[in-house]
Symmetry: C2
Subunit: 387 residues, 2 copies
């Protein structure tokens, strides 16, 4: 379902640059993707009350439906940094516009990392001074790598749509329960679509993918998903484009879930026979986010009762009747009829993908959400992140 044999190279007309701006000790931490011709753009952002200046600025720039460049600073979110933080984000956008030769208003900026620390502007300025002569020859893999924080691997995906391609790069590991979007995911295509069509396609693709992902219930202040289309390959079939786009977003979502901080397994929860989509998603998220379900999945512990608990804690869903609910792990039914032998359940839970399927008996709606197990690795990573 998520495979495509197309080579992982930028769509026609897109180029990229990565460099080391001193945000971390070593390795590239600044990346820029740019279209060599005008492009339509659409983007969705975090709804956090503490959205940072990068999100505020990008939201304003995306409004025109025209976007040509995306810059990412990794390791520092530039959030809760006051007026200085706003000025710094604006200065980075200005420098990128100069570097890439595009209007300032066509630049999107993403910042990801620790909250509440000022950007190291002196090393960033020195970097842009030196970058003026640098070639735009970075690959999608190099860009995805330069965007990483505690990610253990770069996330990229590619899909073909008729004569066009869609390429996506993403990052995100913790503080990861996207609300309107996920951490950072940039999708570029040489298909020709106008801004309204692009916006509609992006929103349709985001709900069942990035917005159905949760690693730890913590919503980032910096989430951004953007889609740029420069038309270099000409028009494509809209339905085919939508399918490819949603499929590519799902591919990236699964990569994000599998690389959740400390994760060793993908956890997929499907709720069906629900009153409406919102109820299905709410119950599914309760299960995928339950620390007790996540730790049981981590330990391949056949403690299925925790799934029932996680459904039950939605105390406002009073139309759910416990006697009409069913729960399955993969193809092993566990409730209401407990398996007499737990061995097949343990075997199933030892796999690197665990599927939980729930029917609520309150209607016909359905939702699937994605997450991961909770391991001691999550604690190790997060008990000592800034220091």
């Amino acid at each position: 379902m998520t495979h495509d044999d197309a080579p992982l190279i930028w769509p026609t007309g897109f180029h990229a640059y990565t460099g080391h701006g001193g945000l971390r000790e070593s390795g590239d931490d600044i990346s820029v993707i740019v279209s060599d011709r005008p492009a339509s753009g659409a983007a969705v952002f975090t709804r956090s009350l503490f959205a940072g200046p990068a999100v505020v600025l990008s939201r304003a720039n995306a409004r025109s439906g025209q976007l040509r460049a995306v810059v990412t600073l990794a390791q520092n979110a530039n959030v809760a940094t006051g007026r200085a933080g706003e000025a710094n984000a604006a200065e980075v956008v200005r420098r990128v516009a100069e570097l890439a030769g595009v209007p300032e208003g066509d630049v999107l900026i993403g910042s990801t990392g620790v909250i509440g620390r000022p950007l190291p502007m002196s090393t960033i300025r020195a970097h842009f001074d030196a970058a003026a002569k640098a070639p735009f020859d970075a690959t999608p893999g190099q860009v995805a790598r330069a965007m990483m924080t505690t990610d253990t691997r770069p996330k990229t995906a590619v899909r073909t749509v008729g004569p066009a391609r869609i390429v996506g790069v993403a990052k995100g590991v913790g503080m990861l329960e996207p609300d309107m979007a996920t951490m950072l995911a940039y999708l570029v295509t040489d298909a020709s679509l106008d801004a309204p069509a692009l916006d509609a396609a992006l929103r349709r693709a985001v709900d069942p993918t990035f917005n159905s992902l949760s690693v730890d219930t913590d919503t980032s202040t910096s989430d951004t998903v953007a889609l740029l289309a420069n038309g270099a390959a000409g028009p494509v079939d809209p339905a085919e484009f939508q399918r490819a786009l949603t499929d590519l977003c799902l591919d990236l979502t699964l990569q994000l879930a599998r690389d959740g901080e400390g994760a060793t397994k993908l956890l997929r929860v499907t709720v069906s026979d629900a009153r409406d989509h919102a109820q299905a998603k709410r119950i599914a998220k309760s299960v995928v986010n339950s620390p007790l379900v996540k730790t049981a999945v981590h330990g391949a512990d056949p403690n299925w009762g925790r799934v029932v608990m996680a459904i039950g804690k939605n105390t406002s869903d009073t139309d759910i009747d416990p006697t009409r609910v069913t729960v399955r792990f993969g193809d092993v039914p566990v409730y209401p009829d407990e398996p007499s032998d737990l061995a097949p359940l343990v075997t199933m839970m030892r796999r690197d993908e665990v599927d939980i399927a729930i029917t609520l008996g309150t209607g016909t709606a359905e939702a699937t959400v994605y997450g991961c197990d909770l391991s001691a690795g999550y604690i190790r990573i997060n008990a000592d992140y800034t220091t």
Copy 2:
């Protein structure tokens, strides 16, 4: 505030029994507290949709305002166990009524432990057959110990009110975000109060204590807090009783928080200057429940930006203006003015109690909630609980 020099012995007229009913390999796992005379009773229960037969039965019995005995089965929640589970809970209540010589309708039953496994009724029956001759001479500490599952220590508290005493026993470590109540807490007093007064006092005491506690956002299917008053010591001043009762509940709440699964620290979050109490509590719970805040507290990592993130994820609280919010750790202000030196913050975070104080600037309401850090110990305990 939470100290009382009164000896930890039952109030006049209360007696208790503990024994081994085969629910776990060794150690007492059944406990009964009984009043030797009629007593008024009040109780609050979990609102989980999957509340077990113990809760259903107890809720019915509490309705009369008369309660004389409380039985607890530890290690098995008897939840999601179908009609057999209901019959088993009823049989235990019947046996306890016989054993304690009280009407069946005056018995409350609590069950705590794994969900979805049938009670081992043959060993439980054998236990009650043998118990008929056993003395009711268990101490509050012995009862609290017999109620434990993954608790590392028994939780007890005592307060004096004029001529009367209130004694409380509690258990609860994980699956712990009480909704209408906490895991299991039984409070008995020889003060004389009628059922309506008792009910009002209990509800007032529970909101700022047990209902302000969260270890892991997972709401149990079995939460129960009950208060029995047998009047043996005569009437007391109602205001003084309320103060002592709330104080005793807070004492038990702090014991529960400190003994959260894998916990090494108490985390206390106070939100003030909020629009209303509900907003204050919602924001405080977002912070106390954030895995990223909890892991930072565990590692004494001065990553205060995560508190700002946890406030910001309440995307419906649109009246919160980030520029009017303030955050302190103990007496160290961190937002909006970041401390230039993080050392005092680290020192503060290394203590075994970490206090976070937030002002929202949206009104004058306040709430305090209690929780704990998130450690690798939580993962160890929960990745391998049933097996």
